[in-house]
């Protein structure tokens, strides 16, 4: 059967998919945190700039981001980006807009009273943030952050169109290789099932975290 | 279906009970909330239903309105058996007005729209005549000036009076009230009770669950004391309040009428807010 022959290749593709979305998520988290903090800043100009960033990247399809980084940045800076690096950057930037919303929401969920209570106890601002605000905010951020990961993972399937050989592209290549149309269909279904199961599992884990943190509060 | 409409006075002319409950049993899973309930309501009667929290008073009203399945016995309204899943249930519900503790006004509609929605959509009344009648009802509940307000802009007492107008708009043969004043601020309770008293004076048939003992005594023709899934005592309100025959009735009445008794009273009656006897 076709899946036995190519199952290994598909799983390898899945590994690459998971890896690239992990890297992209890390990039998204770092950039998103900075933008998110900027969005809650008391400086108007920072808030406006950060909001513009979020709005801009949220208004761009993933495919456009991928083409831009892979072709546009390469041309603009005369550098050579592999599809892997390009996909990571594109998905990471895309995710950073989502993450900035998550971070902002988390930070704003911590009541003003918490901050004031901590400040009034004589803690310096950095300690207030580190010991009082963020520990509470991160709990709120975690479930939607899992959502961002799932969305990044789904977006990574588009990286096939810049020739990055992840799960989707592996499936397409295998499909080219097999002669039979039905086998081709089977391969596509297998790819769909793998994505669905993996994302479902991650989403469920996210929902679990959310329930747990709800009980804890 | 306008010919379906009977005024309360027509109903009073008939001799048979408007509502007949025979051996009603209501269970939620394994717990039997109503174990055996049998009584009749005659046209024009105001029946007050009292009892400690959790004895199934609300559940009973919901059964009468077919909002709950029943597990035994019969509920007969105007000669027709009430069954939650029977096709005639909507026709029966039209004839029964229900007032909820939390008003349940439709938040997206103004007061007058709340009142006219069912007459227009269910009774196929023309919007104009429905609106005209609604304005009459608003005069009755003394809310003419609030007709175009949204529920979110009204006080609880105003909302509850709109809810009463909404129920009246269907010209129901029976009005059921489920603790209509317990969610209200004390200062608005009186307005709602005054409207209810007027309805009783018009000769409407009413089934009222309430902890307002002064109202029950003053307006009720009959009082049923429910406890543990049964009607423990049934008689004129003054009788039950001043001269209860049953121990449990006495305990309950004491706890409601004499707050200090509730303090040292039994655990099950302490759930009744002690301040209501004052009115």
């Amino acid at each position: 059967m076709i899946l036995i022959e190519y199952g290994g290749a598909l799983l390898r593709g899945l590994g690459i998919t998971l890896w690239v979305s992990c890297l992209a998520l890390i990039l998204a988290a770092v950039v998103g945190a900075l933008i998110g903090i900027a969005r809650t800043s008391k400086f108007m100009s920072l808030r406006v700039a950060a909001t513009a960033y979020t709005e801009f990247f949220r208004s761009l399809p993933t495919l456009v981001m991928l083409f831009f980084v892979f072709y546009g940045l390469t041309a603009a800076f005369n550098i050579n980006l592999s599809p892997f690096v390009a996909a990571t950057i594109a998905l990471g930037l895309e995710g950073s807009a989502l993450m900035s919303e998550v971070v902002r929401g988390g930070l704003q969920s911590v009541g003003k009273g918490q901050k004031e209570a901590a400040l009034s106890s004589g803690m310096p601002v950095w300690q207030v943030e580190l010991y009082v605000v963020w520990p509470q905010a991160i709990r709120v951020m975690l479930p939607p952050a899992v959502g961002v990961y799932v969305s990044t993972l789904k977006g990574s399937a588009l990286a096939s169109s810049i020739g990055f050989v992840e799960l989707m592209q592996t499936g397409l290549l295998v499909r080219e290789r097999v002669q039979n149309d039905y086998d081709g269909f089977t391969v596509l279904i297998a790819v769909a099932v793998i994505y669905t199961i993996v994302n479902y599992a991650i989403s469920q884990a996210g929902a679990h975290i959310e329930r747990k943190s709800n009980y804890a509060q | 279906m306008p010919n379906n409409l009977k005024s309360p006075n027509d109903a009073a002319a008939q001799d048979e009970p408007i509502l007949k409950v025979e051996g009603l049993v209501k269970r939620f899973g394994d717990t039997t909330v109503i174990k055996e309930l049998s009584f009749e309501v005659q046209p024009g009667q105001v029946v007050v239903l009292v009892g400690p929290s959790g004895t199934g008073k609300s559940t009973f009203l919901r059964c009468v309105n077919g909002l709950e399945d029943i597990q035994g016995g019969k509920i007969i309204f105007e000669g027709e058996e009430v069954k939650a899943r029977h096709s005639n249930i909507t026709a029966i519900r039209r004839r029964i007005g229900m007032i909820f503790q939390n008003f349940n006004l439709y938040p997206h509609l103004t007061a007058v729209e709340n009142v006219t929605l069912a007459p227009v959509k269910v009774l196929k009344e023309s919007p104009e005549s429905a609106k005209e009648r609604a304005m009459e009802l608003f005069r009755k509940v003394r809310l003419e000036h609030r007709a175009t307000a949204y529920p979110g802009e009204m006080s609880g007492g105003e909302q509850q009076r709109v809810a009463i107008a909404r129920a009246l708009a269907m010209n129901p043969a029976l009005m059921m009230f489920d603790e209509p004043t317990s969610a209200l601020d004390p200062e608005t309770v009186g307005d709602v009770l005054a409207v209810m008293e007027e309805l009783a004076a018009e000769g409407r048939t009413m089934l009222v669950v309430t902890h307002e003992m002064a109202f029950a005594d003053h307006v009720g023709d009959r009082m049923l004391f429910m406890d543990g899934g049964y009607v423990v005592e049934d008689g004129p309100p003054s009788e039950l309040l001043n001269n209860p025959k049953n121990d449990r009735t006495r305990q309950f009445v004491n706890s409601v009428l004499k707050p200090e008794a509730a303090m040292k009273g039994t655990a099950d009656s302490s759930e009744v807010p002690p301040n209501i006897a004052a009115r």
Binding site: F56, T62, F185, L188, Y195 | N104, H108, L117, G152
Partner: protein
Amino acid sequence: MYDFYLPDVYPYLHKLPAALWVTIEISILATLLSSIMGVFLAIMRRSDSKVLRGVSTTYVEVIRNMPLVVLLYLIFLGLPAFGIVFSGYVSGLIALTLNSAAFMTEIFRAGLIAVPSGQFEAAQSQGMSRVTVYRYVILPQVLRTSYAPYGNQVIGVVMGSSIMMIATIEEVTAWMYNTGAVTYRYFEVFVVAGIVYLIVCQMANVARIMIGKALFKSAAAGGKW
């Protein structure tokens, strides 16, 4: 430093309006169709029948977790194995619609859950039929709570419509790619396409706010309704 040179792109700008129209048209169609599907799936989710509930839940969970482009490949490349051949446009529309319907279902379901059960009961107690209860009491309230997430989903559909390119349809993303490929001005075409998408999304936002104001009276002020 890169020298930004837009004029190379000018000869291809005349193709942009048609491409933009495809993006808008497909987004509107997919939004409408998926909204209808979403309403039915959300109501199914509340049905007394286990089967209907199961179908709706399974649909949402499967589609939500499957990348849109995978769905498109299944329809565009996979189905022809069974003699079922759709044009690129139709394939893309089906994929977008099926995908968006799952999200619409979730949005409407959340809106339904947010309506207190007392609303159903009050309406039922007035003798309204199920259809009347939903039409005049429940749906207007669902509309209000679902409105903001619905707007986001509409923008999600616009974003998703870029996969049409994979089904060989010339929409904005395809215009960007193709124009970039002939002019090598990838950076410039990105700027153009980015601005186009930004404008489309912002216009959708403005429309959402204006329609919302008209629908919900003082909704923006957080007032009565």
